[in-house]
Amino acid sequence: MIRSLLVANRGEIAVRIVRAARERGIRTIAVYSEPDRLAPHVLAADEAYAIGPAPSAESYLVAERLIEVAKRAKADAIHPGYGFLAERALFAQAVEDAGLIFVGPRSETITAMGDKTEARRRMAAAGVPIVPGLTESVADPEAAVVAARDVGYPVLLKASAGGGGRGMRVVEREEDLPRAFDAAQREALAAFGDDAVYLERYLDSPRHVEIQVLGDAHGNVVHLGERECSIQRRHQKLVEEAPSPAITQEERAAMGEAAVRAAQAVAYRGAGTVEFLYQNGDFFFLEMNTRIQVEHPVTELVTGIDLVDWQLRVASGEALDFTQADVVMSGHAIECRITSEDPLSGFLPSTGVVTRLEIPSGAGVRWDGGIHEGFEVSLHYDPLLAKLIVHGASREIAIARMARALDELVITGIETSASFHRRVMDEPDFRAGTFSIRYLDEHTELLESDTSEEALRAAALAAALLEDEDRLRHRIPRIGASAQVEMSSWRAAGWPWRKGIS
């Protein structure tokens, strides 16, 4: 088993990895940028090393420095988390060249799957269904226009090096393509350091259904069922659940087998995710994420399999000790991504200091968080603050549990997506399980204020009473006045037995 692990990440995923490692008795080493000196992942780990200033490009993305710290701290292994360097094949290679274990797949696997056009070629060859589109990137807007005529509108522009919605643009009409192409290239360059963009057919109302796979270094690969991730905004997932309310047991088996074939085609080692678009029983390979996924907890809750623990075990050379037949799904799990974005202003990023944090608890509730009170949320990093995850015997119970947990959640000081999630839990189409990745476009009312008269009245009363108390507190007491006069007159009215005390 790995004995010491450097976690090359921050935020909730770094905390998640530190927790898994500590449970295995592994010494954990955190890294931090200047503003992250007191971030939760630093406080959770056994050791911590500074790696640079706030911008990721000068800290969490500096591969050489991370490897240097790992050597200095005498770490055996590096876990990249997700984002940052997780899917940089050169980093994986450099880690192994330095004599360290990279907790993830081989660098060749990352290369093959990281190049989205190469991945499409390989998947087609392995018999995995793919969306109609290009297997090469396009150089300029003119070439894109020509290619789009063959693929057919609407088309989706995607960063070849990308994932996570960055550098993606849907284009409905040819006249909009050149502008969208420029924007996609800029975003791709900024996010991945590579401006290669390709395009494929955009399906009109598919679901995003992905299969979790787990492989070891001995050639074993299993799948752990699907996650339904259709509730998205601009390709960023907002709500995920397992199982999907849409697919049948037969479809699950077919998609699972395709995902295992996909993983075997690249000799997959560790935890990975094969993403599919699903529409009316058909499914198409979208991409493979060669890393732990943000939404991995919903799979953990329905299968009882600890994915991050298995990442560490597989990286240590252990073989999977179960087979496909042993994987049983139980109940239903839902995850809400709590981000520092304001749903009432179109999900614009919000920054500030978390002045109060109350984390939901109780039966079936899990919180994977990366913030604490006093923590400053800046624009330097991803807006994901934490994940609220619930598990229940049925989908209906899980939804009710999530609504209850969201009601318990308090985050003040910054705006968060929580009020949006709370509304989704009440929304009939979500509750019925009838939705596609178009869900948000079809439910724009979820981005408007729904404040009830009762809530407004309560807020007004609270503000007036607080203000009155505040004024009373700051008033200089008159000479000879007794302490009881401090109690304001309205409150005395509420405590009738106290009248006449003063």
Partner: protein, 173 residues
């Protein structure tokens, strides 16, 4: 004591007197209690419980959280309200609303030039924040009067980006 409380688009009149509390003239039974050393309060309105996290931001302004909702309230007493009325407060915008940065970020592109006629909803500028590009759109029709930023500029929240003049106003020039 009478307070005028503005919350969202609404203004409520809250009277605190020796006979209790009135909200917009109706008697309500209220109690407000605080958890010591925290910003947590519990408000009972006719026994209906509201768990509130409140923060005073000065001059009668309160930021309140309850059940995942945030409320910004401003509490004025009669005197403050009279002064506010006499000084007129804000006289309302003249012409199309200027475009301001809704969050701090980096200007990636300005999509208009001075003199351009824009329609409501037309993309004006792209500002990148948290690695995502956000297209800022015109609130209404108008002609671009002044542009205060260029691509590559870092902007603060509420910084003025682009100003417009109304098309009819301009016709009168």
């Amino acid at each position: 004591m009478i307070y005028y409380v503005a919350v969202g688009e609404r203004t409520f009149v809250v009277e605190l007197g020796p006979d209790g509390v009135k909200l917009d003239g109706d008697v309500v039974e209220v109690d407000l209690a605080h958890v010591d050393g925290t910003a947590v309060s519990n408000l009972l309105v006719d026994h209906v419980s509201h768990r509130i996290v409140a923060r005073g931001t000065g001059s009668g302004r309160w930021s309140l959280h309850s059940r995942g909702r945030r409320f910004e309230a401003e509490v004025l007493d009669e005197r403050a309200r009279t002064i506010r009325e006499m000084t007129g407060g804000s006289s309302g915008p003249i012409g199309p609303r200027p475009l301001k940065a809704p969050m701090p970020g980096l200007v990636v592109k300005v999509e208009v030039e001075v003199g351009d006629v824009v329609e409501a909803g037309q993309g004006i500028a792209i500002v990148e924040a948290m690695k995502m590009e956000n297209e800022l759109k015109a609130a209404g029709p108008g002609r671009v009067h002044a542009i205060h930023v260029t691509a590559g500029d870092t902007v603060e929240k509420d910084q003025l980006l682009v100003e417009f003049v109304a098309l009819d106003e301009e016709g009168a020039e």
